[in-house]
């Protein structure tokens, strides 16, 4: 569609409040040959129970239905893998369902889980996501990932998904980035930031202390993207437990996990970028009707929307999510965010799609220092820190788990438990990793509201998950 009816633009509404009460995750790595996937899922659920001071058996007694995110059956070579996990978690005969939406699988899993609680079907649900990408050689892995593109019109061309994505990166690079060396350095700065934050995260496997020049000199993958501009390929599992208000209060009583209100919204766009048609930009609450009238003059080549420079699905997820929760300006209303940084340049594109900066101005979010935990220019807290986990570049991208990992991260921020969970030396040792001597506490002080964006490939599916401390809502009836 290129025009929408009022019904299609209705602000979504949950029938009752939904709360996130706990979350957990396994270690992430490029390969984990010593563990089966279900062992990683048990690790994640056990951690979620421990954060509530419960045993897994005690937590399971609350769960009524289960939502499983696992994208690539062919990677795991197991159809109905959800049934295997469900059985190994000892949750039969509860109802369960598998959810797949490419890179957005984790976010979509939370979308389904939240709706199950909001509708009244369940009072407590498990959302669990995982991926196993270590059991084929890399070139066959690339072939399998390319199967997520159109099998007749795209996949035969090189069987390399990066190439299908990178044509969009090239367009953004030339139109909004104006192919400037300074913009290329800004992209590299994102990689330095995310690899750097990954160093302080014991779950992460992409932590590295690197420089902008290291990124610029890393092997070229698809110009202008280099190896260090790209996300990781990972194995691991993450989970979250969502409840209605009464169950949330009971489960979190006398624990450090404050129940957090959760909303999830979703948008979509064509699987093939080739099918995108020109349309008007759907405006977010912090954008004015005539804001983009001179966009093409300022950025020649930027005439088409979303063209190959933006992600309509991300814009729509934010469009619904902001109206649902009362967010008018994400930079002012939110305290911390996790974005789907599949590539450094897609991180910048998303800043614009979700209104952190207007279209064409995404780079300013990085260059101003607003995206950092501590602004490198002022030494003061960043205005809206992003990807303190390290993101997909510095922490992990175990596809079905990624969107849930992001929510785990922002939840630990809102619980004020980031340092306790990420700084625990025992956890570093258990994962066989050395805690850096300069380990830094990345807790965002006083964080009350947060957002994460889960994104599939070239933008076919995107979800926005919004968490808020219940005493700091922006809209009474949200």
């Amino acid at each position: 569609m290129i025009t929408f009816s009022e019904r299609q633009l209705k602000t979504p509404k949950f029938m009752r409040p939904v709360y996130l009460v706990t979350a957990g995750q396994s270690k992430y790595a490029r390969a984990i040959p010593e563990k089966r996937t279900e062992e990683l899922c048990v690790d994640a659920l056990t951690m979620a129970a421990e954060l509530l001071g419960l045993t897994p058996a005690e937590l399971k007694r609350y769960i009524h239905s289960c939502y499983y995110g696992h994208f690539a059956d062919h990677f795991g070579d197991q159809l109905l893998g959800e049934a295997v996990i469900h059985d190994r978690l000892g949750l039969d005969p509860l109802g369960n369902i598998g959810i797949k939406s490419g890179g957005a699988t984790g976010g979509s899993t939370l979308w389904e889980a939240a709706k199950a609680v909001a509708s009244g079907y369940s009072d407590c649900v498990l959302a669990m996501g995982w991926e196993r990408m270590d059991e084929v050689p890399t070139d066959e892995g690339n072939f399998l990932i390319a199967s997520a593109a159109d099998r007749d019109w795209e996949s035969p061309m090189g069987q390399i998904y990066t190439g299908y994505y990178a044509v969009m990166a090239q367009k953004y690079w030339q139109v909004f980035g104006k192919a400037e060396a300074s913009f290329r350095r800004t992209l590299a700065e994102i990689s330095v930031k995310h690899h750097g934050y990954g160093r302080f995260n014991p779950f992460a496997h992409g932590g590295m202390e690197i420089t902008v020049d290291d990124v610029l000199m890393s092997p070229l993958v698809a110009d202008p993207l280099r190896a260090l501009d790209c996300c990781l390929m990972s194995v691991g599992a993450a989970c979250a437990v969502l409840c209605d208000e009464a169950t949330a209060m009971e489960l979190t009583k006398d624990t450090k996990n404050r129940p957090l209100r959760i909303w999830v919204t979703a948008g979509s766009h064509t699987l093939r970028p080739a099918d995108r048609r020109n349309m008007d930009i759907p405006l977010l609450p912090n954008e004015a009707p005539d804001q983009y009238k001179d966009l093409a003059k300022e950025f020649p080549g930027g005439e088409r929307y979303p063209g190959f420079t933006g992600f309509l699905a991300a814009r729509m997820a934010a469009y619904y999510g902001y109206r649902m929760t009362g967010i008018t300006d994400p930079t002012e209303d939110l305290d911390v965010i996790e974005l789907h940084d599949a590539f450094t340049i897609s991180d910048v594109q998303t800043y614009e799609d979700i209104g952190v900066r207007p279209y064409g101005r995404g780079r300013d979010y990085v260059e101003s220092g607003d995206c950092y935990h501590t602004n490198p220019h002022t030494g003061k807290p960043g205005k809206l820190p992003s990807n303190l986990s390290g993101g997909l570049i510095g922490c992990m991208h175990a596809v079905g788990a990624s969107g849930i990992m992001q929510v785990f991260e922002i939840a630990t921020q809102l619980w004020g438990r980031w340092a306790e969970i990420h700084g625990d030396k025992k956890r570093w040792e258990e994962f066989g990793r050395e805690k850096p001597e300069d380990w830094t506490d990345l807790q965002v002080k006083g964080a009350k509201r947060a957002l994460s964006i889960s994104h599939a490939g070239v933008g076919s599916h995107v979800t926005a998950t919004i968490l808020m401390d219940p005493d700091h809502l922006l809209k009474k009836d949200a």
Partner: protein, 196 residues
């Protein structure tokens, strides 16, 4: 003696002939750092899928004949009436009426430009193209969408005029039978098997 798997449709059903898979032994995976203990096994598999192009079959057949087909919504009640789709869409995405098929070979020869591109040095398994692959997205005047393809000769630039070439000799009957060259390229410069 093995032979390639071949398929025909007869009486509305697939008829299979030849070998569609071959057997290989599983092999143990052992941990070289821990006393060669067993970790798992390899699971080799070689299969042939059968796939229908359905309503897009005429597009792929036409490529082997040197023609680029597109589709157009002709439904007078549709808000997108008159929209031309390339990639070829069987149904209009708005009204879902069946589109009419049009031959846009001449438009492609005269009015095609590169909207964006990517030169990619890597590929996945089973890639059939020479590397580096020069991916291009081709924009046509009067067409509402932008075709994904590859440049056979030359170096791509945004805004560059290009012309279609077809693999008419020994075609693959896939999207790889269509590629592009810079406008003005002469027929004798094309690799063997390709023609305008």
């Amino acid at each position: 003696m093995s032979s390639y798997g071949q398929v025909q449709v007869k009486n509305g059903r697939y008829k299979f002939r030849g070998d569609f898979h071959r057997l290989e032994q599983h092999m143990p995976i052992r941990d070289a750092d821990n006393g060669w203990r067993l970790v798992g096994v390899t699971k080799p598999r070689d299969m042939t899928y059968v796939h229908t192009y359905g309503g897009e079959a005429e597009f792929f057949e036409a490529l082997s004949q040197g023609k680029l087909l597109a589709t157009k919504c002709d439904n007078p009640a549709c808000e997108s009436k008159g929209s031309i789709f390339q990639p070829f869409r069987i149904h209009c995405p708005d009204c879902l009426a069946k589109n009419v098929v049009i031959d846009m070979t001449d438009v492609a020869k005269k009015k095609a430009t590169i909207h964006t591109f990517m030169v990619c040095a890597r590929s996945g398994a089973f890639n059939m193209l020479d590397k580096p692959i020069r991916f291009i997205n081709v924009e046509f005047e009067g067409v509402s969408t932008i075709l994904f393809s590859y440049l056979l000769l030359g170096e791509p630039q945004i805004g560059m005029r290009v012309a279609p070439v077809f693999k008419r000799y020994n075609p693959t009957y896939t999207i790889l039978d269509l590629s592009w060259v810079p406008a003005g390229t002469k027929a004798e410069e094309l690799p063997e098997g390709y023609s305008f």
